[in-house]
Amino acid sequence: MSSIDNEGMLISSKVELRRFPAIEQGDLRSVRALVVHQTDAPTAQHTFNSYRNKGNGAHFLIEKDGAIYQTASMKKRCYHVGRLLRSKCQAVDKSTCDAVKIKAIESLTWELQFRALDRYERTKNYPERYPMNADSLGIELVGKHLDETHYEKVTALQNQSLQWLVSELYGHFSLTSKDVYTHPQISYKNVDEAGSAVWQ
């Protein structure tokens, strides 16, 4: 059982706190969803090194041996989702889309489509749209990007730790398994990122 302190850090013997202020980008007012990523790095240390210098990052990092690190406060936003949101209604249930609007968007070129879809999606509230940086926590799993369509497989120890972490966060933020997404589900990223992650 874990708790969350005043600084937004998860207090548990299973979590090592390694906070990097460089990846915190303003206040996170609500947590409505979790987004699972892979780092494209061989070890957690590589990611720590990049977190000292770069603005992008996530709240948690799980090493291949299952060690869990908290790298940003859960009261702070991290840039982990990306610039452009995919359309949730298109992916999940097209009947919930505005049919006229979607038809017009689908006639555009791919790059105009994804911009138009992003603008359309951002007019909605979660859970009608996919989560954004402003309402989600990011969980990174250490693992390399191998080629055009593959990432390293998530290890069994990583999945075990991911399941524990996700279940703790369900309790703290009243979430369910419907509120957990992989990065390429919600944004335009390599289709296999976190594809072998299992959280339920």
Binding site: T39, D40, A41, S50, N56, G82, R83, L84, E106, T109, W110, E111, L112, Q113, F114, K144, H145, L146, D147, E148, P184, Y188, K189, N190, V191, E193
Partner: protein
């Protein structure tokens, strides 16, 4: 002599490391949204893409570029080796030579993809 060496160096820098480009196929994982017209490059334009693109690491590819669900692929000669390539509608590409995979991104290649300003 020094002038001839300098001229040779300039010639080398100006040469594309890519030659013998051949396109083998177009593929889309989302054919309703990402179509052949979104990545309609010919062999000369593929060569131009790899000449103008910068080599990037996987993290930069992930963070700074969009992964398009459609691509062209084919073969080419890169630095004297027979390799395969992909170019995606999101202005990203890869060249895979025996045992080595390199990622490329091009933010100044809008003209090759129909002129839209994707990253500006």
């Amino acid at each position: 002599m020094r002038f001839r060496q300098a001229a040779f160096a300039v010639l080398l820098v100006g040469c594309s490391p890519v030659s013998d480009v051949s396109i083998t196929r177009f593929e889309s994982l989302e054919p309703e949204s990402c179509r052949a017209s979104d990545v309609a490059l010919d062999e000369r334009q593929i060569s131009s893409f790899f000449k103008r693109a910068e080599r990037i690491d996987g993290r930069t590819l992930h963070d700074d570029y969009e992964w398009a669900p459609c691509h062209l692929e084919g073969t080419l000669t890169y630095q004297g080796k027979a390799c395969t390539w992909y170019v995606r509608a999101g202005r990203t590409g890869t060249i895979e030579c025996p045992g080595v995979l390199q990622f490329f991104g091009c933010k100044t290649c809008d003209d090759l993809f129909g002129g839209g300003e994707l990253y500006r």
